[in-house]
């Protein structure tokens, strides 16, 4: 085993060396320039040097040319993410954008990345334009609200929930189980919604999903009296929702936190806050999503999705059952949307109908398009960046503009930048479509499609 690895590295060494030299030049020039700009704008500090070194160490050696070299980059990135709460306060200040995102923002970013990855299965892999993805997010969140809060006060079910009084009314099931229930339930809803809608092609599908994306938040908003039942508690939403945690038994035996909200420990001189626990849990969920995405992409079903995206008629003629395969894509996308929704509800300890309006669907779609449809790295970066802008970035930019007289110079008065968020996201989308329609990091396939097109205009329609 080990001998194989050594032989493999030796065999590919010349390629590795050549590519590394090329990358060193490129990385040196771009990275050096970035370093210089940052240093000159007042970000000069030890953390900047450190960031620079780590980035180059991951980028310059052509890791992917070595056998199992991809793991080096992957593990490096995971480590950077896992350790983020430890060094976040020590990071340098970026020009314009200000401080690095807080861990709290990090949780939201990870949850949105998860949703973007889920939508990527539907839009990026199978090529089904879904404008109502928020419906699945909402389903997940409300499932969490039903099974882990006092909402159904008539019932009194307790199973593994933490941080709640054993006598408190309502259904209280451990959040981990609830997340699983939410994922499965949402996937089932995905199948039910998909069944009538996936017969449609292209634009028609987009319009119907848009409809579902509108229906869901309306049900949520008006669901305080649904056939005489209070299902969603209307505009007030449902709260509080139980926190995650592993309970006392596991806490005492393995040492995992018993209740995220009351967790209080120091680790390596660092006071671990409960937000950080949410952060690491979200990271695990994102890694799970990435893992499933990769496996699905490289499987029989993943090939069928891509084939459908390329040419539906030909795919059907090659034995791919269109309805079933598309429904699977929908279900898989919904599954991760459900997980994200349930986890987000537990993180925010509540679910409110205003969180699920149409603009969120578009927001998530923007993440997928900005990053590069079909490419997992791209979608992660697109999702993280837009979620960051939405949470913190725009506010920081506004603060910088107002503080440095830029707003005054441009508009004559201070402005509240986050107020213009959808205008800004829209502008980003337009710019991406104009200058890099395949996204920031496109998959090689998608890049070609944008250049050469796909056979999505059928010469004749399959009549089933």
């Amino acid at each position: 085993m080990f001998g194989n690895l050594v032989a493999g590295i030796r065999a590919r060494w010349p390629e590795f060396e050549q590519e590394t030299r090329r990358r060193a030049v490129r990385g040196g020039i771009v990275g050096g320039a970035a370093f210089l700009v940052l240093a000159l704008t007042g970000a000069a500090s030890l953390s900047l040097v450190f960031t620079f070194v780590v980035a180059l160490a991951l980028y310059v050696p052509a890791w992917s040319r070595l056998p199992r070299g991809r793991w080096v980059v992957l593990i490096g990135v995971i480590l950077i993410a896992v350790l983020y709460p430890f060094y976040q306060v020590n990071m340098f200040e970026m020009p314009i954008f200000g401080e690095f995102p807080s861990v709290d923002t990090g949780v939201t970013m990870l949850i949105f990345i998860m949703m973007a990855l889920g939508l990527n299965i539907v839009v990026g892999y199978a090529g089904l334009l879904d404008l109502g993805y928020v419906a699945f997010y909402a389903m997940g969140a409300y499932t969490a609200a039903w099974f882990a809060s006092q909402h159904f006060s008539g019932a009194n079910v307790h199973f593994g929930a933490v941080g709640v009084n054993p006598d408190s009314p309502g259904i209280h099931i451990s959040i981990w189980i609830v997340i699983f229930i939410a994922a499965v339930f949402t996937a089932v809803v995905g199948v039910i919604i998909g069944f009538p809608t996936l017969r449609l092609r292209g634009d028609y599908l987009a319009i119907v999903t848009l409809g579902f994306g509108e229906i869901m938040p309306q049900i949520a908003r008006n669901g305080d009296n649904l056939f005489g039942q209070n299902v969603t508690n209307g505009p007030q939403g449902i709260n509080p929702i139980d926190p995650p945690g592993f309970g006392d038994t596991l806490h005492n035996s393995v040492g995992v936190p018993s209740d995220y909200l009351t967790y209080d420990k120091t680790f390596l001189g660092h006071d671990v806050s409960n937000v950080e626990l949410f952060f690491w849990t979200a990271l695990v969920l994102v890694l799970f999503t990435v893992f499933c995405s990769v496996r699905l992409r490289d499987s029989r079903i993943g090939r069928a999705w891509i084939a459908i995206r390329e040419d539906e008629t030909a795919a059907a003629a090659m034995g791919v059952p269109l309805m079933r395969t598309k429904t699977w894509a929908y279900a898989a996308g919904a599954f991760f949307g459900g997980i994200a929704g349930a986890y987000y509800a537990s993180f925010k300890s509540g679910t409110f109908p205003d969180d699920f309006f149409f603009n969120i669907s578009i927001f998530i779609l923007c993440m997928v398009i900005l990053g590069g449809m079909g490419n997992i790295w791209g979608v992660i970066i697109g999702g993280g960046f837009l979620a960051y802008l939405n949470q913190e970035g725009l506010g920081n930019i506004g603060g910088w503009m107002n503080g440095h007289g830029v707003s005054d110079f441009l508009f004559g008065h201070d402005i509240d930048v986050p107020l213009y968020q959808y205008g800004i996201f829209g502008a980003i989308l337009v710019l991406v479509m104009l200058f890099k329609p395949e996204g920031l990091i496109p998959s090689s396939r998608r890049k070609a499609e944008f250049k050469e097109g796909v056979a999505d205009q059928p010469l004749y329609d399959v009549q089933h």
Binding site: F291, R295, R300, D311, A317, G319, V320, L322, Y460, V462
Partner: protein
């Protein structure tokens, strides 16, 4: 020889237009049958009914003792009818190998759960599928092109890949829709001997669609001629070639006099 496929009084109307008018048709097992006719004679429409792309307005299609009338395309492919397209419809942004693997879809079993877990059984299945796909590509004359995107292949190779992809569905009956369109006479000749080879070596039954009669004369056991959606002649190539209605359809009514 038993008939692998029989079509009885198959009819297709588009609005008021009758594209295929009560055509009876059969394909004996292990034969090469050609369906010819001038452009717009209804050949491709007929073909699309056999493969499930269109539902016949009336009539019945039986394949390998099962009624496949109006069944969806993937179900028909699963029963053993593979096809190519007149205007090449490869998955352009997939590699040759991936194209062939998509063709195997109905012969593989990996579902969503097993794909995520990547069970040993699934791993084995995928490995075998890759192996078989590579063999098929080589058999179809695409050696060394496994990892090339379909769009980067030459025209002739794209045609070969279409056949390889259809073969990957493990068909009993292979339907080729104008496979030699755009080929020069030499390529056409090579392709036709490949078609004969498919029958000899793989025991396939083959239905060819052509509008150029000369192409199919050499290889066909039987020829059926369509014109304006009606069957106007049927028989051995020699019989059909002498048929007056065929000559008229192809050359116009003045041809006989001259």
């Amino acid at each position: 020889m038993a008939d692998l496929l029989t079509a009885e009084a198959v009819r297709k109307e588009f609005g008021g237009l009758v594209a295929v008018n009560d055509v009876d048709f059969m394909i004996p097992e292990r034969s090469i049958v050609s369906l010819i006719g001038p452009n717009g004679a209804g050949k491709t429409t007929f073909f699309n009914m056999l493969t499930g792309v269109y539902k016949p307005t009336a009539g019945k299609i039986v394949f390998a003792d099962g009624n496949i009338t109006g069944k969806p395309p993937h179900a028909i492919t699963e029963r053993g009818i593979g096809r190519t397209f007149q205007n090449i419809r490869l998955f352009q942004n997939m590699t040759s190998l991936e194209n062939a693997l998509v063709g195997m879809h109905s012969r593989l079993s990996g579902g969503i759960m097993r794909s995520v877990l990547r069970t040993p059984g699934l791993k084995r299945e995928e490995k075998e599928a890759h192996q078989r796909a590579r063999e098929l590509l080589e058999y179809s004359g695409l050696r060394g092109r496994d990892n090339e995107f379909a769009r980067n292949l030459s025209y002739g190779d794209q045609r070969r890949l279409e056949v390889a992809r259809a073969l990957a569905t493990q068909p009993k009956l292979l339907l080729l829709d104008e496979p030699t369109a755009g080929m020069n006479p030499q390529e056409t000749g090579e392709f036709m001997s490949f078609v004969s080879k498919l029958r000899e070596e793989r025991g396939l039954t083959i239905l060819l669609i052509e509008h150029d009669m000369r192409v199919v004369m050499g290889v066909s056991d039987r020829v059926t001629v369509l014109d304006y959606g009606e069957k106007i002649a049927e028989g051995t190539p020699q019989e059909v070639q002498r048929d007056e209605r065929v000559i008229e359809a192809y050359l116009g009514s003045g041809a006989l006099a001259g």
